[in-house]
Symmetry: C2
């Protein structure tokens, strides 16, 4: 048996999410079916994160165990061949020790959230960003975001479906910056609660629109109450960017 780490890029649009679902297509199913066609083995994929329906990835990391011997490059090529026409691609493939685990060995996760802030609707970026038509104050959003950085009880920013044992997480980075007509939010942590990034972005947008004061974000955090939440940003703008491992 060989454990292979896969770096995946995917368009989340046509999927019900990363994880296998009974009620629709998933990235996991697409990769496992491609792996079956390549290896003839019932392969199970484990991923660093469980992205929701419509959420994209530029560098999701996952692993699969394969009994037959494969050269990593040839495995990657064969998986990409059999993944078509699904919008999932294997960008890199490498052999890992048997005790390495895409999810449990992961010590850092990075997300990016893309907002297009203009009057005109999206064309080329439809489904790939959140279109916010009224002007956003990205500096106020960044200022408010800093009150979320650090170790906190993130109950306010947690989905009711969240399976995490504790609502306490350490947020290492939450930067908001304007790049032309785009407002980009970059979030890094060891791990996130379910819907945490989208909840934080939705709330920061209320600040950017001037509907919430900068201080209200800290107040909502300290309330530890879902009903204190602003709004959940749509999945379209969210990208899983990077998984970090020791060394």
């Amino acid at each position: 048996m060989t454990r292979f780490a896969l770096t995946l890029e995917f368009d989340g649009g046509p999927f019900m999410g990363l994880q296998r679902q009974d009620h629709g297509p998933s990235v996991q199913q697409a990769v496992e079916e491609a792996a079956f066609r390549v290896t003839g083995e019932d392969v199970r994929m484990h991923a660093a994160g469980r992205t929701d329906s419509g959420v994209h990835a530029l560098g999701m990391v996952a692993h699969i165990d394969v009994e037959k011997p494969f050269d990593p490059f040839r495995l990657m090529e064969a998986l990409n061949y059999h993944l078509k026409p699904d919008p999932v691609a294997v960008l890199a493939c490498e052999v890992k020790p048997d005790d390495w685990h895409a999810r449990f060995s992961c010590i850092g996760r990075a997300y990016e959230y893309r907002i297009v802030n203009r009057r005109a609707p999206l064309t080329l970026e439809k489904g790939k960003a959140w279109a916010v038509t009224r002007p956003l104050d990205a500096k106020a959003m960044h200022q408010a975001a800093q009150s979320l950085v650090g170790r906190h009880d993130f109950t306010t920013f947690r989905s009711v479906h969240c399976q995490s044992q504790s609502p306490v997480k350490t947020l290492d980075r939450l930067d908001v910056s304007r790049e032309g007509e785009q407002v980009i939010v970059r979030a890094e942590a060891r791990s996130f609660l379910h819907h945490q990034v989208r909840s934080m972005v939705g709330t920061l947008v209320l600040v950017g629109l001037g509907q919430w004061r900068v201080e209200q974000v800290a107040e909502a955090l300290h309330a530890r109450d879902r009903t204190a939440l602003g709004l959940n940003a749509p999945p379209d703008g969210l990208y899983f960017v990077r998984a970090v491992y020791p060394d």
Copy 2:
């Protein structure tokens, strides 16, 4: 009557091209139908360029004449409302003098061509770039491109369907640069022949792959012969970026 200049962004994927066609949807038809719904008038659109099926635009300029008085901002908003769900958006709208013409007043056009140069197939950029899997030497491509800059007979790089009176054009810029896994070609001229940018990019890719010597591009140009051409790059990677007008 008021003449309005429109700056358009569109995803060329679902269209048979910019210009109205008998056999399928066009950007022109989409804009004219939206304008009819807004104004009740049979409006005709004139554009700076006539992009092919599948070619995109980040800043195409067009004009329409409207009899009823309209505030430009409100006209833009109403057009965007009625353009949905077509992937065409009006980014800007301004009043122009009656003798200003989106096509005939235009003194410069800029295109960008996006190549994604990697083994893995496209996911998020499917239909938005040309995927070239073997490594490209962008420096050799740039060097070869410089032999095309200037005033030349571009017969070699002209479609058999080209309606231009003369094959002689002045190419002001043809830059090739690598940006991570992307190779970007930027082309500027007063005007281009039909398929000129895609023909030039296709030929430069042969140089980038090492199948053509750098000098062969100049040789093909001087041959003034369509059969001396390399290959036509697909429309997916081509973007009309900018139209330039006096002042």
